[in-house]
């Protein structure tokens, strides 16, 4: 009974603040809560890869190539005798760096452009809309592939290319948000009181617009994991000896008849990461953007 009491109290207090209400809604969704915890764990493992991993990602032991699980190598080794567990952990670092970095870059480019278009409207908006069209003409994956083919792969370049091809989504979202909010009463009131425009845009309107942007950002993470791992799977993305889940599948493909683990482990990692991040994204959407059902 006491727990029910406590929850009721939380609700009352949280109704005064949007973020408290959002946290309450998020907490109620058990799937999202568990996924969120795992997603954070993956990020921590990725950040502390060099401390957690028992071996280096490139440490070879050719006498132990394609060995099964043992006390020395908990999940076995790959064709060059590299510890699979360590490579999966370092793979989390590469995958997460790209999966977080690319949408972040897209947001940094796209949101200001969208804000300007949505806020000022008129000819600025028209030009921005045409700009959106130009950049959606060629789908993100194809554009990124072209850029990688021309300029080469690697972690930083993947972040750059998947980022510059992701900005349109953020731009459209920010534009729609500001277009919807700019004629609200609180904005008109702020204008009437002589608040400078930049202050209205960032201090008054941004807090109302930031929720959907966070949701969009988290929902972009699984898609970016797919794309980055896909390019590495094709041999175009992350290069040896760096570990990446997509590349590990590619490596394991040839040794399938000897060791299942080499290909299976990165597949499990990809599935775990994409599932947790997409459930987290869904939970955040329901919590932060209640109008979107």
């Amino acid at each position: 009974m006491t727990s029910t009491m406590e929850e009721t109290v939380t609700v009352r207090r949280s109704s005064s603040s949007f973020w408290h209400a959002a946290w309450y809604r998020y907490k109620r969704n058990k799937l999202a809560l568990v996924s969120g915890v795992i997603a954070v764990l993956i990020l921590i493992v990725a950040a502390l890869a060099s401390l957690i991993a028992p071996y280096g990602y490139a440490t070879q032991d050719l006498t132990q190539s394609l060995a099964g699980p043992s006390l020395h190598h908990l999940l076995g080794t790959d064709q060059l005798g590299r510890d699979l567990l360590s490579r999966a952990i370092y793979g989390a670092r590469t995958s997460m760096a790209i999966a977080i970095g690319a949408p972040l870059l897209g947001a940094i480019i796209g949101i200001p452009i969208g804000i300007v278009a949505g806020w000022f409207g008129g000819i600025t908006d028209w030009i921005t809309l045409r700009l959106f069209e130009v950049f959606t003409m060629v789908p993100q994956i194809l554009m990124a592939l072209l850029l990688i083919a021309l300029f080469g792969g690697g972690v930083l370049k993947l972040i750059l290319f998947l980022g510059v091809t992701a900005w349109v989504g953020f731009g459209r979202l920010a534009r729609a948000q500001y277009l919807a909010l700019r004629d609200r009463d609180f904005v008109i009131a702020a204008k009437a009181m002589g608040v400078p425009t930049w202050r209205i845009i960032f201090v008054h309107v941004l807090p109302s617009a930031v929720g959907p942007m966070i949701v969009f950002f988290v929902q972009a993470i699984p898609a970016t994991i797919f794309a980055a791992a896909g390019f590495s799977f094709l041999g175009l993305g992350v290069q040896d000896p760096l570990a990446d889940w997509g590349k590990m599948i590619n490596d394991g493909e040839q040794y399938l008849s000897v060791s299942l683990m080499v290909a299976l482990l990165p597949i499990i990692c990809i599935a775990l990461a994409t599932l947790t991040f997409s459930f987290t994204g869904d939970g955040l959407r329901d919590a932060l953007d209640p109008t979107s059902r």
Binding site: M137, V138, L142, L150, L234, I249, A263, T274
Partner: protein, 311 residues
């Protein structure tokens, strides 16, 4: 309506002009060219001859205008990698493969997803709903299509030897790529259908229909499904060109010689005419589908008015 369509297509033309210019500039901005060879560099005069033959020694703006002029005469040029063919011929050979795989994928995933979503919504909160929703959406979202393809190959081709691992020519070649390709759009379709069906299932006019004693079938098909389909047009419409131009990952995994794999090789070999032609195809399909889905929206939902059309 005609004026509106004309205006939309004119803007599309303008946008495509800018897009091709950007791609053109981008391809030429990188040092090196399609005929650079690291193994055996060509002697200077031979190189100059090749460059001259393909017009690559002219200034960029001139090359772009040449390309545009040829394009207006229906000539996409000659692919550098296969000089005995024309780009048009190459695409005519590759696209049917992508279209067949994509067409079957769309049919299976859209109809299958629709049926599953509808079933889940009609059996809302029963175990059928639970299994369909969680199993399908999880399976479709968890793994990228190339990983699903890889798993399918390892089980059905390598372990069991039932189906070919890749290639093109016999009907069996279609099965695994289509399954791998369909999973994600099917999950998406099922999810959106369920959501939009649930929204109307409890609407007043549906309850009214029941009160009037209409058959459950009539209510489902005429009252619920018709309204539930409307939001799906804008969500699933833009996915169609995506599927019909092929997935580079699926085509690479199953060694299908379709548009996607040509895009990959053309990009890697800097085959300018082929890249531009493929970009153009994708862009035209993409733009047209956007316009059509906007128009379709007004046709099924009379409340929606197109921007610039209403007055």
């Amino acid at each position: 309506m005609i004026a509106y369509l004309a205006q939309r297509f004119l803007t599309l033309l303008l946008v495509m002009l800018v897009t091709t210019m950007l791609i053109f500039g981008l391809m030429h901005a990188v040092p090196g060219g399609p005929f650079d060879q690291t193994q055996q560099p060509l002697p200077g005069p031979a190189m100059a001859n090749i460059m001259h033959k393909y017009g690559l020694d002219e200034p960029i703006w001139r090359q772009y205008l040449n390309w545009l002029w040829a394009l207006l005469h229906g000539d996409f040029g000659i692919p550098f990698e296969q000089p005995t063919m024309s780009v048009t011929g190459l695409i005519a050979k590759a696209w049917p493969i992508t279209l067949i795989v994509g067409g079957i994928t769309i049919a299976i995933s859209y109809l299958g997803g629709l049926a599953m979503g509808l079933l889940a919504a009609l059996k809302h909160n029963t175990w059928i709903d639970w299994v369909l929703t969680s199993a399908v959406s999880t399976a479709g979202v968890a793994l990228p299509n190339y990983v699903v393809g890889f798993l399918l190959i390892s089980v059905f081709s390598v372990k069991l030897g039932w189906l070919p691992a890749g290639g093109w020519g016999q009907p069996e070649d279609l099965i695994l790529p289509v399954i791998a390709f369909s999973l994600y759009p099917m999950a998406l379709m099922a999810r959106f259908t369920r959501a939009s069906t649930l929204e109307v299932t409890y609407a007043d006019y549906v309850r009214m229909g029941r009160a009037r004693g209409l058959s459950e079938r009539r209510i489902t098909l005429r009252y619920i499904l018709r309204t539930a389909l409307i939001p799906l047009i804008t969500i699933m419409g833009p996915n169609i060109p995506n599927i019909l131009t092929g997935s580079i990952f699926i085509e690479a995994t199953f060694a299908l010689p379709g548009l996607g794999s040509y895009f990959t090789t053309a990009s890697l070999h800097r085959d300018y005419p082929l890249i531009l032609a493929l970009v153009l195809i994708v862009a035209v399909l993409w733009g047209t589908c956007y316009i059509l889905s906007d128009v379709a929206y007004t046709l099924v939902d009379p409340r929606v008015r197109l921007e610039g059309l209403s007055r």
